[in-house]
């Protein structure tokens, strides 16, 4: 009877390699926490951008400039925080949860436009921007907390 089983040394080496690989993977997933202002900055900048471009004042150049600056800042903040620690992590959680996180601000934006019924375009733009900004702030803070749990 011939056997070709791995030796105990092979098995030990395999286990050590598996542990090292798992440790490395977890290290990549564990990065510094996002700054405390991240969620608020995202929400506020989002609200400014959409509050300006969706309102009846969206033809006013100074406001468009403000919206443009806010948009650049929104993208910049996202890139800065998303790549902190030199690692861009994968989205966390099941697919349904990730879709929900993206959908909540969109739904809030849509619901905000109900304010246009009594208050017109201005009311709708402000309400939708504020609700969507607040929702984005909340889901960002929640997602960052989930990522560290």
């Amino acid at each position: 009877m011939t056997r070709n089983d791995p030796s105990a040394a092979d098995a030990q080496a395999a286990r050590q390699a598996l542990e090292a690989a798992e440790h490395a993977r977890e290290a990549a997933r564990s990065r510094p926490a996002a700054p405390g202002w991240y969620g608020a900055a995202r929400g506020l900048l989002f609200a400014v951008v959409f509050g300006v471009i969706c309102g009846p004042w969206n033809g006013e150049i100074p406001l468009l400039i403000v919206a443009g600056v806010a948009l650049v800042a929104f993208l910049g903040v996202h890139v800065l925080v998303a790549s902190r620690g030199g690692v861009i992590t994968m989205p966390h959680g099941p697919v349904g949860q990730r879709i929900l996180i993206q959908a909540i601000p969109v739904v809030a934006f849509g619901l905000g436009w109900l304010a246009a019924l009594p208050f017109g375009q201005a009311g709708g733009a402000i309400a939708s921007a504020v609700l969507a900004g607040a929702a984005l702030w909340a889901v960002t803070a929640w997602a960052e907390g989930q990522g560290r749990s």
Binding site: M1, T2, R3, N4, D5, P6, S7, A8, D10, A11, A14, R15, A17, L18, A20, A21, E22, H23, A24, R25, E26, A27, A28, R29, S83, G85, G86, V87, I88, T89, M90
Partner: protein, 115 residues
């Protein structure tokens, strides 16, 4: 009575080296990682990481993206789909080796005094 033993699955020779496996595993935990972050975790020199990344690139396991943070150039590393498959296969092979040895130890009657 003969027993048929299925040999352990083959390990991936490209990934087998401990530092290469460490880097591949680190990259598997993220979408992209900056060169410095990978180097710092692996605790090897820039030149070593460059050599390893080149080898992994040649095997189509890793892709490299050059970018800038402000005016400072940055290099970003990521596993390709092929790299993720290769890593998964390699880890499965390691797991099979570890479990096969455990199974063999559990079922081995051992060498008695008459052998």
């Amino acid at each position: 009575m003969t027993e048929e033993h299925v040999p352990p699955p083959a390990l991936d020779e490209v990934i087998q080296h401990p530092t290469r496996l460490t880097i591949m595993a680190f990259l598997s935990g993220c979408l992209e990682a900056e060169f410095g972050a990978v180097r710092d975790y692996a605790q090897v020199s820039d030149a070593s990481v460059s050599r390893i990344v080149s080898a992994l690139q040649d095997a189509d396991y890793v892709k490299v993206r050059k970018g800038y943070v402000g005016k400072r150039p940055r290099t970003w590393l990521a596993l390709t789909a092929e790299g993720r498959r290769a890593l998964t296969g390699h880890l499965d092979s390691l797991q099979a080796i570890a479990e096969s040895a455990r199974h063999a130890a559990a079922t081995d009657p051992g060498d008695g005094p008459n052998n």
